[in-house]
Assembly symmetry: C2
Homo-oligomer: 338 residues x 2
């Protein structure tokens, strides 16, 4: 922002303290030996003049901005908001700042965001892109040094970036087992978009768990939601139409979809959980707002955000300790599937 008053620069500090910019820079960066006395003088000058180092100038000189980008496909989705929150805290703790970028699930916008972040010259990027096709993700990851991908698809990029994934199949298994152990016999799955790995994986988890328990999933019942939000869940559930009466257990892709299904049940005169038990996934706030409350899989969203930042920081520091981390989910039993 063009300042009304001239900016206080390092040269001003140097002059006031009677030293050179080199010295000022050194005390600022705690680099090299400096006599206690000189340091004192410089610190006083900084204090007195109200000097604040220009991140831009520093960025130009060092090629480091201490900025991190976080790309999410939607900002009104609490799942990503929580990840952002965790990431932000972790970043601040390490003197980094987070730039939150929302793509609205638009792939072109995804690329534009990468370009934007490259423009700003962030030191690293966390990408949450569950639906982005591998062939779109790969070039982005190739172009940048430090990237951590949360729930990404494909494998081509994996040696280039860090990865964090939720243990989707195992989560769904917990949901299915719970429904079966509470007496449900005719289960189906209300899925997310099948172009997302998290989605297909959850479906597979559902199918496998069912088979492992000696049941056969009815493929005709399998329904997906577009988009995987409340409206999508509502519409898709209604599509189940006549067969719905036979179903007594519904495993949903996420809490939003589950809430939509519950809403549809309300209108269709189907009682939850009496007639049908419903489970969600992620445990967002909505899970406890909806009536009946959602039985769901808790995902440690903030932890994922913090972990992503830590992995990024490792990479920036030249280490690649955590290549891939799997995050387990935990079943929380509430009213919708007691």
């Amino acid at each position: 922002m063009p300042r009304p008053t001239k900016r206080v620069t390092m040269a001003d500090v140097a002059e006031y303290a009677g030293v050179t910019k080199t010295t000022v820079s050194r005390v600022l960066n705690n680099k090299g030996e400096i006599s206690a006395e000189t340091r004192e003088k410089v610190l006083k000058a900084i204090e007195h003049l109200g000097y604040r180092r220009s991140r831009i100038a520093r960025g130009l000189a060092t090629d480091q901005t201490f900025l991190l980008g976080l790309i999410v496909p939607g900002i009104s989705n609490e799942f990503f908001i929580e990840i952002a929150r965790g990431a932000e805290d972790a970043a601040w703790e390490n003197d980094y700042k987070i730039l939150l970028c929302n793509t609205e699930g638009d792939w072109d916008r995804e690329e534009r965001m990468f370009l934007f972040l490259e423009d700003i010259q962030v030191d690293g990027i966390v990408v949450c892109a569950p639906r982005l096709p591998e062939e779109r993700l790969l070039p982005l990851v190739e172009q940048f040094q430090n990237v951590v991908v949360v729930n990404g698809q494909g494998i081509a990029w994996r040696e280039l970036a860090g990865a964090i994934e939720t243990a989707d199949a195992s989560g769904m298994r917990q949901a299915v087992n719970h429904l079966i152990s509470t007496g449900r016999r005719h289960l189906t799955y209300l899925g997310g978009p099948m172009d997302a790995r998290v989605s297909t994986e959850r479906y597979l988890g559902f199918v496998n768990a069912l088979q492992a328990a000696g049941h056969t999933p009815n493929p005709d019942w399998h329904t997906t939601c577009h988009p995987a939000n409340l409206e999508g869940g509502y519409e898709s559930f209604k599509k189940l139409g006549r067969v719905i009466a036979e179903i007594d257990g519904l495993v949903c892709f996420n809490d939003l979809v589950a809430a939509g299904a519950i809403r549809a049940c309300g209108e269709m005169g189907i009682r939850v959980p009496d007639d049908i038990a419903i489970t969600g996934c992620d445990d967002i706030q909505l899970a406890t707002l909806v009536r009946p409350n959602l039985t769901t899989l808790q995902t440690p969203k903030q932890d994922i955000g913090a972990l992503a930042v830590h992995m990024l920081l490792e990479r920036i520091g030249g280490q690649h300790i955590h290549e891939t981390v799997i995050i387990e989910q935990r079943l929380i039993i509430r009213e919708s599937a007691p």
Copy 2:
């Protein structure tokens, strides 16, 4: 991000095109006369080398970053998310980018965010700070050139910054009039934190409208919510305790609070809207998710965000056309107060 391969610089482009950096800069900025031929050569060189101008270097040279900051007190509050969305679109359209900053309603964090944005050297800042005290806001506004405040408190800063405000009192009047005209006689107000102007103003609007209609608000019934979200609304409604049976109309500070009240009603065996009619404010998504759907005041959230950016751009351009803009709300009638 320290690049593995050397960055393509303006000098490279100049060399490849057989001109000087000055010329390259000129075609990039469309400044000064350039022969079509030269321009062509430069453009080709840029294309060929895949050159992308460094925003950092440019920022250092011009003191302009084409970056805007947007400070919000909470990122899980849909009201602010929508403002952010509107702001982002408006910014992109003008080749600016938005940096979204969340303070979580923490005033110290508010100041830190300002410092951070100053650090990044954004060209302007939009602040949503409904609860920030005037004496905290003033120094921040004084320190920056280009600021637009959304729903700010106090007046001291008003000649220094642009302002956008919702017409809260008039909104509440609509709600009260609707309740009265549909036969409700014993109204009360479930308020927000009384340290926010929007909150006191809504309360005054409520009281005035009631009096204008010849009713006397019962001050004993007046209750505030801390915080003004679902839980707060739920708790506060319960505090109304015994007197609740006498109340047949409830005007709420916002949709979140209203949803909390509805939830409490459910548990207390009070029927909405039969026993009590409830109105919200803002018309967030939740308004149509809750059962019964919320009658509420629609606030054009995205428009507010876009307007804020436009006002900021005006200021950056040296104009101060819109000093203060008042945004009207509109009553949407749904199930909770038919």
